[in-house]
Amino acid sequence: MRYGMVIDLKRCIGCRACVVACKAENGTTPGIFWREVLQKEYGEYPAVSRTYLPRPCMHCEKPLCMEVCPSGATQKRDNGIVWIDDAKCIGCRYCMMACPYEARYYLPKLTPYYPQGFTPYEKVAYQRHKIGTVQKCDFCWHRVEQGLNPACVDTCLTGATYFGDLDDPASEVSQLIASRHGFQLYPEAGTNPSVYYLPP
């Protein structure tokens, strides 16, 4: 089994509900976006268009972050999900240099979103984040192991994000990739990402 994600760029409207859902689910601190939405404008007025590109961690089959990690903190589960053991991370940030997708973030300190201080939600949610370590999207593993989808998948308003087993040719994600010519970002890096995009 190899978990993967398919993102339909034709459906994505750039609402960033997935970004907010990720933040709410995982309690990330200001400036850290485990899932970002990149955007690009094409053309000139009056013929202008915009495309959005959600960018979670790619959970690569050959993750460079795992290769360069000196402490063994970055690991890959049997189901393909790449995760970070924050009890082993030394905060050297070599993985951040190696990741072609800039999907990793270093946590120097815990900061509240509001000047009044930490909200009750932040006081609880921030407990899982360890200062001085690197963190990233983990496909909401705590949900996936309960049979749920990652938060971004369930929240997507237009149904642009799919999640499933890339090793199962009958799965929805595999069939979408095959029928709609799904592509990966920066394939020349040789990492074989588990996140595919359907052309806009």
């Binding site: 960033r16 970002e36 030394i90 050297c92 240099m97 020349e188």
Partner: protein, 287 residues
């Protein structure tokens, strides 16, 4: 507030490796180069300084930089895949072999002594070269992803090592080394010329390598790093020392103060070179 991020990520640069990593890399290269050259020059002060520079300077900077310094020992756990582990193991071995060589002068002419020296030299070379491999392993940052980087870092290791020796001779005196000052000046000049050529080759290669590499090259030549690179690395770090050395060599009377000035200028250039490489770490656009 959520950022509006455009793609391709225009000139998106790495922001994490800055001053402490700069000095860790610089002190490691300079210290190891100093050890390597001091061995052949029979320069005891150079060997002592090199071990201090690498052990306390490089080691201290690395540990201070970590998000979890108390876990620093974990950094050597994955030499099978991580250049960081391989390099730091090399640093430790260098400190051990180098210290033993220094502390056991009585056995230097024995087989064990010569083996210690060889291991010390090999590990010193490793300390110089590994940071180049470490950075070159990032296809994400094409300006670093080249076989030229380990070569340049090693060359600058030798240059900075020799610079350190030239500067320290102000205190130790010319008689502390086993060769004449004139010969050191010739070697320094040749190394600086080699650096000039290699930098030219590096920039020509990177300009056509990929969009990210081209962006980084332009940062060095026309962007916010131009002052550091053209003014610092090239002018202060290479051309001015070459000018001073040329005057000293052509006058036929090598003066220690001139050689030390050239060494000091080239040392500054060595620091700025590594700074420019780190700051030009531009990620390749994703699409």
């Amino acid at each position: 507030m959520m950022p509006t991020v455009t793609w391709p990520l225009v000139a998106s640069r790495q922001r994490e490796w800055r001053y402490l990593i700069l000095f860790a890399f610089f002190l490691g290269g300079a210290g190891a180069g100093m050890f390597f050259l001091s061995y052949f020059l029979e320069y005891k002060l150079g060997i002592i300084l090199s071990l201090l520079v690498v052990g306390i300077g490089k080691g201290g900077c690395h540990v201070l930089y970590l998000g979890k310094p108390l876990r620093a020992w974990r950094a050597i756990l994955r030499p099978q895949s991580s250049w960081l582990s391989r390099g730091l193991i090399g640093v430790l071995l260098f400190l051990v072999f180098g210290s033993l060589y220094l502390l056991l002068p009585g056995i230097r002419d024995t087989g064990v002594g010569r083996a210690l020296a060889a291991l010390g030299l090999f590990s010193a070379f490793w300390v110089m070269i590994y940071t180049g491999f470490l950075m070159a392993r990032s296809p994400a940052i094409p300006f670093w992803n080249t076989a030229l980087l380990p070569v340049m870092f090693t060359l600058y290791g030798f240059i900075s090592g020799l610079d350190g020796i030239l500067v320290s001779l102000i205190v130790a005196g010319e008689g502390s080394i086993g060769v004449g000052l004139h010969q050191l000046e010739v070697v320094e000049a040749l190394l600086l010329l080699a650096a000039l050529v290699l930098l030219g080759v590096y920039l020509m290669t990177m300009y056509t390598a990929s969009p990210g590499a081209k962006m980084a090259t332009l940062l060095w030549l026309k962007g916010d790093l131009a002052a550091y690179f053209l003014g610092g690395v090239i002018l202060v770090g290479l051309l001015m020392p070459l000018g001073v050395l040329s005057y000293s060599l052509l006058s036929g009377n090598s003066l220690l103060v001139l050689a030390s000035v050239a060494g000091f200028l080239a040392l500054l250039g060595g620091v700025l070179f590594r700074w420019c490489v780190l700051r030009a770490g531009v990620y390749n656009p994703l699409v």
